[in-house]
Structures are given as structure tokens and as C-alpha cells.
């Protein structure tokens, strides 16, 4: 078995790496979706005309797979309506007109003596995976087989081009991260803790190494994409394979994104729920690319305005990174908890050329980190051959984009995989 999974080399474009995070003031109405995580949407607890305080719950997590949503500032609720949220489904959105006073709720007080205390507090703080996935953190920290978990991995790889929000977290809040690791190790009774950082971030590696002591180990990873994908980082750091249908905890590992961990610790210290998010605003069509600490619910176009506005001719507006991010057709969509970047890219960088016929060059096959065969999926899907799709494990595809990236014929392989997965799911 190879010790390394296949990865690809993408240009880093970390324009904002050395830009300190700037705090974005409240200048506009905030639109806060009730679904900012993987799982079930929250139920609005406020109505039009209500006054809210910063940190007050406005969306209640009524189901297990969920996390409550809080007001990002004080103000008045001006509308509650169903809209398309960034993850592509219709959910209620609560619009708040800030009163500019930014008055917070009484800080929550926590007494953390056990894991269940921590899980409880994490849920109250509205924590979800901030690296992009948005998995509710309280669930992540509370696996059923907690006794078998022996390894904590803090994911600080940030392998997507452009994005530097996790990098800034390490430079600006390294202590919080260290405290977080200590806390989780203690409460979850975990032996090994690693923080995985790509080697294109020497400063972060140095800072974390200084703090590590005997609490955790800094693991340097080659900066290749998709080094930060959960299964990939687990395999590269521990050699363990999270098989189809398994969770990391099934192989004794808990993975948490570095910003999620830092934010959790700050939440526990301040008693204030998650209301802001560091977003890398970058790309060759943004006047002043930078890292912005923005209130959740701020519309994208306001953030871009804050960064000096648009230059050049943007071809794509992307929420997230260029490899896995989602394109938006307008800038009114708000940023949410798991937004880590807003990119405005020109055609030169983000062109999607017309596909031509597959020449069977096998480059997609040798690029897939999971050893899948994208060109075979494509043929099977177009032949309607669901059996072949199942046999060749299209369900394992994590949509990382390596295959489409390398394809000389510019085949839309990831898109086809998505359709194929949907077709298989439907069959079941």
C-alpha cells in the first residue's frame, strides 16, 4: 500500500497571507440564514419588529443534527422570509437592521468539568466546522465510541488556493489553539494530538512548534491539494483508512479545523456565541484582497465593497476555494459560519473551457486521491449503467476536483460524479 495518496499541484495564490485580519464594521442589514451547517435547519425564534441583542438565539436547533444560530449584532428584526441559502435549499432568513450599538447579551457562563459539559457549551455557542464543511462541532466532539478515540487531529492544512483564514488564525490566535488542544485532550482522554500544516506556511509551523511542548506535535505536510480533505489528512498522519460509510471516530480519530478550535476556545472564554467569521476576500478582481472579520449575515457585495470594490472584469464569484467552492450568480448572498473565502476571479484564472472528447489519457485516473476512475464513471453514467457506477464506487468520490483539474479534454468529471451519486441515491 502506497504511503501517500495521489495529490495534485495547484498554484497557491495566497495573496492575503501577510495581511492582518481587519474587523468589518456594521454598515448594512444582516441577512442570517437558518441553515449554516450540515443537518437540519433551525427554527426562527423571533418575528418582525423584535429587538435582538448580539449573541441572542434567533434560530433554535430543535433537532440533533443542528446548531443554534445567533444574532450577529443588536438591532431590529425587519424581515423573516424563505430564501435560497448558500447550500442550495430554501430556508427562512432573518434580516436584522443593526442599531449600531452592538449590545451583547449577558455572557453565558460555563463550568467545564467533563466532556458532556464541553459538548453542551459547544452546542450553546453555535459552533460548527468552520473550515467549510459546517459539521456541528458538538456532535463531532461526542462520538459514540469515545473510548476508542486515541488521536486528535487539528486540520490547519488549508490546501485550497487563495484562502488564508486558517493561516491567520494560527498567527493571531495561536494560544487559543493550544488551549483548545489541551482541553480536548483532557476531556476526551486522548493520547496523541497533531496539528497538520502544509509546508507553504513556515511561519505558522514555527509558531505552533514553539507552543507545542509535550501537548501536541506539529506535522508538516507537503503543500499539495487536497491534503486537507478529512480522509486524506487522517491517512497521511496516522496511516488509518476511514472506509466507505465510516466516520473518523470509527478509526479512533477526531479531526477539527483549526479556526473551529480557536473560535470554540474564545467562545468558552468570553461566553459569547459565534457571531463573526474570518473570511479571506481575494482574487484578481478585488481591489484590496484581505482577511476580513465579518459579522455572519453580511452580504457578499458589502464585504467586497469594504475591500475597495471590484477591479477588472470578474468571471466568477466563488464562496469557498477555487477547487471546491460554489459559484454565485449575484453578490446578495450572505456569508455564513462556514464561509472561509469570497473570491472574485477573472476569466484568466477561472475559465471553464468547453469540454472536448475524452482521449483516455488516464490522467484523471492517476490523479484521484482515492484511486477512483472518473473517466469510467463518465462513460457508465452516460450509458445509464448504475451497476458499474456502484461497482467502481462513485459514492466514495469526495468531489475534490483533482480529476477535472488535470483533464486535458476539460471534461466536467466532478459534475458527472455528482449526478451519478444523485442517481444512485435515488435508486436506493
Amino acid at each position: 500500500m502506497a504511503l501517500h495518496l495521489k495529490t495534485v499541484n495547484v498554484r497557491h495564490h495566497k495573496l492575503t497571507a501577510e495581511k492582518e485580519t481587519v474587523i468589518m464594521p456594521y454598515s448594512c442589514n444582516l441577512v442570517i440564514p437558518m441553515l449554516q451547517h450540515i443537518g437540519r435547519p433551525c427554527v426562527p425564534t423571533v418575528k418582525v419588529g423584535d429587538s435582538v441583542l448580539k449573541g441572542q438565539i434567533i434560530g433554535e436547533a430543535t433537532e440533533f443534527m443542528s446548531a443554534p444560530i445567533h444574532a450577529s449584532t443588536s438591532g431590529k428584526v425587519v424581515s423573516v422570509r424563505d430564501m435560497l441559502c448558500p447550500s442550495g435549499v430554501y430556508t427562512p432568513h432573518i434580516e436584522i437592521a443593526p442599531d449600531k450599538e452592538d449590545k451583547s447579551i449577558e455572557p453565558l457562563s460555563f463550568k467545564i468539568d467533563s466532556l458532556s459539559d464541553l459538548v453542551d457549551a459547544t452546542r450553546q455557542l453555535g459552533m460548527v466546522g468552520l473550515g467549510g464543511a459546517g459539521f456541528p462541532t458538538s456532535i463531532k466532539l461526542n462520538p459514540k465510541n469515545i473510548d476508542e478515540v486515541d488521536t486528535l487531529i487539528v486540520n490547519a492544512t488549508e490546501c485550497e488556493p487563495f484562502i488564508t483564514s486558517d493561516y491567520r488564525e494560527m498567527l493571531e490566535n495561536a494560544e487559543d489553539i493550544k488551549e483548545g488542544i489541551e482541553l480536548l485532550k483532557k476531556l476526551m482522554n486522548i493520547k496523541n494530538a497533531y496539528i497538520g500544516i502544509e509546508d507553504n506556511k513556515p511561519k505558522a509551523i514555527e509558531i505552533m512548534k514553539k507552543l507545542s511542548g509535550d501537548i501536541f506535535e506539529v506535522k508538516t505536510l507537503k503543500s499539495r491539494y487536497p491534503q486537507g480533505a478529512e480522509k486524506v489528512i487522517i491517512y497521511h498522519l496516522t496511516g488509518r483508512k476511514v472506509l466507505e460509510g465510516q466516520l473518523p471516530a470509527d478509526v479512533g480519530v477526531v479531526v477539527i479545523n483549526v479556526t473551529s478550535l480557536g473560535s470554540l476556545v474564545r467562545g468558552l472564554k468570553t461566553g459569547l456565541p459565534l457571531t463573526h467569521k474570518r473570511v479571506t476576500v481575494s482574487g484578481d478582481c478585488v481591489k484590496e484582497p484581505q482577511n476580513v472579520y465579518a459579522p455572519i449575515g453580511t452580504p457578499i457585495d458589502k464585504i467586497i465593497e469594504f475591500c475597495g470594490g471590484v477591479v477588472n472584469e470578474p468571471e466568477k464569484l466563488i464562496m469557498g476555494g477555487p477547487m471546491m467552492g460554489v459559484t454565485m450568480c449575484h453578490g446578495s448572498m450572505p456569508i455564513i459560519k462556514n464561509t472561509n473565502a469570497v473570491l472574485l476571479l477573472s476569466k484568466k484564472l477561472a475559465d471553464t473551457p468547453e469540454p472536448t472528447a475524452c482521449i483516455r489519457c488516464s490522467k484523471c485516473v492517476s490523479a484521484c486521491p482515492f484511486n477512483l476512475m472518473p473517466t469510467v464513471f463518465e462513460h457508465a453514467y452516460h450509458d445509464g449503467d448504475l451497476e458499474a457506477l456502484e461497482k467502481h464506487k462513485v459514492m466514495l468520490c469526495m468531489e475534490c476536483g483533482c480529476c477535472s483539474f488535470v483533464c486535458p479534454a476539460k471534461r466536467p468529471l466532478v459534475q458527472t460524479n455528482r449526478l451519478a451519486k444523485a442517481a444512485l441515491r435515488e435508486k436506493k
Partner: protein
């Protein structure tokens, strides 16, 4: 921020493209093309030009008539024409070269659905068809630097000499290509330079050439012949590096490629030594082309993250 494009991820693409790959193949073929033209003179130049021009023209005209998008820009037709010409002796009548080009492109490539859909290597099939139809005209091999029009005594190719157990030329002469043969197959040095270029630029995976060449060497030696001459003669390097590695007609996985290369090597040697035909390479590759879907099926990759099936689970 108007006119934003909405597409599926990834939004970054590598700068690789079909035409770039084909261009690299042409560049890699340049050394052997130039050497062939120098060795065999103006006739060789004309054969190469005819091959390329008629291949491109056939594709253009076919696509025009069928009202399909014109794909000559991807350079794959040019590669086919060039490979075809390099696989012919410089004495081949030009109209035959043109005919072979047209057969390669129209019958073998386009009628099966165009680039990516053909079941066998177009250049090789084109070549086989005309060598079968016009055997004597397409097998007048001459020594380098001989004026074909004045002194058209056909020289014996290395392969003939090996088969007849004649005295062989010195190895260095063979390596530089100073012996009779097809335009593009004589100079091993130029072919290897091209092959290294393709491997370094990652256009081809070395699995097929290496397994093909090694198998031929070992098998030829095992049968009591000189293995080294075996791999330096009869278009083996040209075939192993440039023809057997044709993407469309070779397997997808490295495992499959190795099986493919070994198969080519075995069949080539068998045909050369036991058959009456000296053209082992072309037939071997086309035969393995036909087996490619089967090899692909048998060597499909298994994801390390797939659940082990019941049998394997028990074995553990």
C-alpha cells in the same frame, strides 16, 4: 459584478490540453523525423509531408461533409499522419501514403466516432492495410544515403538479417540508425531522446514502453537470438514509445499498461521468430489494442477506501 458565470467546481483547471499533448508528441517525434529525412533524403521528406497533409485534410473534409465541429486544431490527425509516414519506407509511392492517411483517419478514426472512440491505433491500421494490399511497393527498404531513384536495390532490414542469421552490423551503427528500414524507425538514439522527453513532460507513462521493450529483450534472448538487436530493430522502439502508448487504444491503469506492454512484447517476438512476417510490431500492438477493454475491465482500480468485500474480509 454582472455577467457572473455559474459552473460546477473546480474553477481552476490545469493548463494541459489535448492539443498541447499532441504538440509534445510531434516535438518528441522531431528528432527521428529529422534523422530519417537526412538519411533517406527528399523522398522521405515527401512521404512525411504527404502523410501529415492528407491526414489533416481527410479529417477536415470528413468533418465538413458530416457537418461536425472541425477538430484538426487538436493536432491529433497530424500526429496520426506523421506516425504513419514514419512507419513506411521512403520508397513508398506518395499516392499510397495519401491513401493510407485517408484510411487511418476516415475509416479507423472518424467512422468509429472520432478522437477517443477508435478501437485500434489509426496509423497502424492504415499502415497494415496498405502493406497487405501493396506488399512489394511498401517493402523496398534502402540503406541510408542511397539515392533511391538511381540505385533502388532494396537493402535488407535488420530484421531480415536477424531472421536469416546473417552477420549483423556493429551495434553503434544500429544505434545511430545506419541501416535499412522505415523512415522513423532506424535511429534508436533519436527515438529514445523522444521517449525520454515524453516521460519527463508526463505525456506518457513509461509503463508500456519499458514492459514492451524488456519483454521483447528477454523473450528474444530466451529463444536464442540476440535480444539487443531485437529491440533496436524492426520499429520496436518506434512502436513501443509512440504507437503502443496511444492513449485511446491502451489501458487506463498502470497495471493494465504493464500487461499490455508484456502482451505486445510476447506477440511481437512470436510473430518475428515463428511467423513469416517481419512486421511483428504493428500486428502485436493492434492485437493488444483490441484486448484493451478486456484488460481495463480486469485491472480496474480498487479504492483503498472501499469496504473490503466479504471474501477479503474473511481472509483477514
Amino acid at each position: 459584478m454582472d455577467n457572473l458565470t455559474v459552473t460546477s467546481s473546480p474553477h481552476f483547471r490545469s493548463n494541459n490540453s489535448t492539443s498541447k499533448i499532441m504538440l509534445y508528441v510531434i516535438l518528441a517525434l522531431l528528432p527521428t523525423t529529422v534523422v530519417g529525412c537526412v538519411y533517406f533524403g527528399i523522398n522521405a521528406v515527401l512521404v512525411v509531408l504527404t502523410g501529415v497533409v492528407f491526414a489533416v485534410l481527410s479529417e477536415y473534409i470528413y468533418e465538413k461533409i458530416m457537418k461536425q465541429p472541425i477538430t484538426v486544431g487538436d493536432l491529433s490527425a497530424a500526429v496520426t499522419g506523421l506516425l504513419l509516414a514514419l512507419n513506411l519506407p521512403s520508397t513508398t509511392p506518395l499516392w499510397m501514403v495519401a491513401l493510407a492517411s485517408a484510411i487511418s483517419i476516415i475509416v479507423v478514426k472518424q467512422l468509429f466516432g472520432g478522437i477517443g472512440c477508435n478501437f485500434a491505433n489509426p496509423a497502424l491500421v492504415g499502415r497494415i492495410v496498405i502493406t497487405l494490399c501493396f506488399t512489394s511497393e511498401t517493402s523496398k527498404f534502402i540503406e541510408p544515403f542511397v539515392n533511391a531513384n538511381v540505385d533502388a536495390t532494396a537493402g535488407a532490414t535488420l530484421l531480415n538479417s536477424i531472421a536469416a542469421n546473417e552477420k549483423l552490423p556493429e551495434l553503434w551503427r544500429v544505434f545511430l540508425g545506419l541501416h535499412a528500414g522505415c523512415i522513423g524507425e532506424v535511429c534508436s538514439l533519436a527515438l529514445i531522446v523522444g521517449g525520454v522527453f515524453l516521460v519527463v513532460t508526463r505525456v506518457i507513462n513509461p509503463a508500456i514502453p519499458l514492459s514492451y521493450i524488456l519483454t521483447t529483450y528477454l523473450f528474444t534472448t530466451a529463444l536464442g537470438y540476440d535480444g539487443l538487436y531485437g529491440i533496436l530493430s524492426g520499429g520496436l522502439l518506434l512502436g513501443a514509445i509512440f504507437m503502443a502508448t496511444d492513449y485511446v487504444t491502451s489501458p487506463l491503469t498502470v497495471k493494465g499498461k504493464i500487461i499490455f506492454g508484456i502482451g505486445c512484447g510476447v506477440i511481437t517476438t512470436v510473430i518475428r521468430i515463428f511467423g513469416s512476417n517481419a512486421e511483428g510490431v504493428s500486428y502485436a500492438i493492434v492485437f493488444m489494442n483490441v484486448l484493451t477493454p478486456l484488460i481495463d475491465n480486469l485491472t480496474a482500480k480498487k479504492s483503498p477506501f472501499a469496504k473490503p468485500n466479504k471474501k477479503e474480509a474473511k481472509a483477514k
